[in-house]
Subunit: 177 residues, 2 copies
DNA sequence: TGTGAAATATAACGCTA
DNA sequence: TAGCGTTATATTTCACA
């Protein structure tokens, strides 16, 4: 695996400071695309796929991590197999929008078990919560116990999720190239 | 890295068939939590953290993959650093809901560059698209060129995303244990 | 970019409880 | 059946040319 990196002598990331996107060349882009499809690919396979030397490939991936472009790697779980087959988007609207209220609630909601992702958004609603639960009853309990129980929450709206898909992402069509 | 696996003789996943969630023991749970935090952790470190033998640790992770609980690993990208600092949720409502219409549009939207995630939902709206774009102009163009350009799309509503966070996930509080 | 050597990870095996 | 330790193989990492 292209694991944690500690650079000792070289200083690769200097190049992507002020305008990172424009310093990403075609090879970097291809690397990111390949790694987005499967982060578990070995350096050898990755190098072979792009026609790079293994040493070069490892170096560039390391540089992408150092530059902060790649922020980490996550596993993907089958939530249904884990016993949480029901997903929903819960839209949360506050009654009071002081900075403290908003931030505290955001922290609390994101830390609530069952929350897969939390969006802080502009507009009439304040947060969208993507949650996964065991069943309809658990969903009701989730909203009552962990969302509307917060004083600042004025209103919620729960939308059942039939399906979620990872999208194409941003890397398929180079922006300025 | 706990990479792609090709089992040759052993058949580990037999145990989690009919009721997978209930066969997940505490060790599996801890493994998934650790891997969710950082999928790039080495097997050695993972084994050490949980107090398992390395061989056992590797075996269990492999079994989780074989069972389909772990469906893959993805890298996380800093979208802003990549030149896409603006994120939005676009709610999409159709005018006609034939199965073919819905599925075709879902496919098309998910495959559109810039789409990070696509939700197919119940209710008045049909899809929520989480998108990342270069700037406000690109967002407008995205909606006009890639969403409302589809005939079946009756209405869209775009909500700016201030911030997204990964939530606590489903694994922090064991369900039946 | 390539090479080689050391460190590490993985897969497979046999043994134990 | 699950866990452990060992071995052989594969892979990564790092230093140097």
């Amino acid at each position: 695996m292209l694991g944690p990196i500690t650079l000792r002598n070289a200083q690769p990331p200097a190049r992507r400071d002020s305008d990172p996107a424009n310093t990403l060349d075609h090879v970097d882009r291809q690397l990111l695309i390949a790694l987005t499809e499967d982060a578990g690919v070995t350096n050898k396979a990755l190098a072979g796929r792009l026609g790079l030397a293994e040493s070069t490939c490892a170096y560039r991936v390391r540089a992408l991590r150092e530059a902060g472009i790649i922020t980490g790697t996550r596993i993907q779980l089958d939530l249904a197999l884990l016993g949480y087959p029901l997903q929903a988007i819960i839209m949360v609207r506050l009654g009071s929008h002081t900075m403290a209220n908003v931030n505290q609630l955001y922290d609390a909601l994101a830390a609530t078990p069952g929350v897969v992702q939390a969006f802080h958004v502009a507009g009439a609603d304040d947060f969208y919560l993507h949650v996964a639960v065991e069943n309809a009853e658990a969903l009701r309990d989730f909203v009552l116990q962990h969302v509307t129980s917060h004083r600042v929450v004025r209103q919620t709206e729960t939308h059942l999720v039939f399906d979620v898909r990872g999208g194409a992402g941003v890397l398929t069509a180079p922006p300025g190239r």
